[in-house]
Subunit: 186 residues, 2 copies
DNA sequence: ATAGTAAAACAGACCGGTTGGTATGCCGAA
DNA sequence: TTCGGCATACCAACCGGTCTGTTTTACTAT
């Protein structure tokens, strides 16, 4: 794997787990096994340009992973529960999640960097659009699908925050269990 | 108002808006209108001790504010929508929320400081317990009330993240509109 | 095949500024 | 005169970023 890709993959995990500011440049370089020269060669804009690249890369990998789960699921309900199941698996194994969220980045960068905020917005939009498409496939109306996809995205992100605060995967499990009842309503 | 209280109130807002690491010590002192001497006089443990104090203070004020809204509302549904309404009001007025959330702190501190994580856990627990009590009052079973209170908390927190990413209050408005349909189901 | 060369891919020393934190000094009230 | 409640001066460590220098790669002319 080439250096640039390795940098992005490693940095993405670190940023997702601990946020942007909390990850120092030296720590980042050490984790990637590179030096400053390499970083500023590939990303002249420094740390922030790397962050943007991470968010864009995340957009692609996330889309691929989630779409894979969605394509092999018969309904939005089962697909959503599968996604949450993956998150719970990661959480129980590693004690942290570095695959499906970026809440730390959103909350600290939304006021600081317009481009970072926009990259995050695009990411959420992408996730919602996958939910949306599947909901339409399930026979939901456009309005309903739009509301529900947003609601699902929000409750999963929020559930993850609760998991982090409790240091447990139970909140996400609860949310996963509630989803079927939620979907019936619409 | 005495110095210590002023420090906590000002710092709380800053930490809520931008997270812990992103707020520098000097910026903090300047915003509070104090010096390092005062900070380390009142909080020998420094920045982190101040953060813990902020979270505990937030626990009290948040409880008071939310309980006030809940006491004057006839049902959980209306109460929850009132809480979200307050958030939307803040968001539209200031462009940011500094009253009802602390997601930035959770995500970046949960792995870093056990005591900070625990303070956040207590905060979420308190919020959920208010929802829970009102749901019981509404005639929900214990199990249902427990699930729904968690679900409401999660979706509100998640909705706020989406608002931050989109720089708009629409996600929270959508969630507020979906809640009645959600409550009917249970 | 080989030597020459230019560009890409790094490495690492160095920089000014900022970080959180400490030690000491001052000053009004009790 | 003692003591809480600060202010000021200062510190080492670290920050993200720039700089110059070296190695590796790719291509070409001979």
């Amino acid at each position: 794997m080439d250096t640039k890709t390795r940098m992005i993959e490693t940095a993405t995990k670190l940023f997702q787990q601990r946020g942007y500011k909390a990850v120092g440049l030296n720590e980042l370089l050490q984790a990637c096994g590179i030096t400053k020269g390499a970083l500023y060669h590939h990303f002249p804009g420094g740390k922030e340009e790397l962050l943007i690249a991470c968010l864009q890369s995340l957009n692609e990998t996330l889309t691929r992973d989630i779409e894979l789960l969605f394509n092999s699921a018969p309904s939005t309900e089962i697909a959503a529960r599968a996604v949450i199941g993956e998150m719970i698996k990661d959480l129980d194994r590693d004690g942290t999640i570095a695959g499906y969220t970026f809440s730390s980045i959103v909350s600290e960068m939304s006021l600081l960097s317009e481009s970072a905020r926009d990259a995050c917005r695009a990411l959420y939009e992408k996730i919602e659009s996958i939910f949306y498409a599947k909901l339409i496939e399930d026979g939901f109306s456009c309005d309903r699908a739009s509301s529900v996809s947003l609601f699902l995205t929000a409750s999963i992100e929020g559930g993850l925050l609760l998991c982090r605060a409790q240091n447990s995967s139970i909140p996400l499990q609860t949310i996963s269990n509630v989803i079927p009842e939620l979907m019936k309503e619409f």
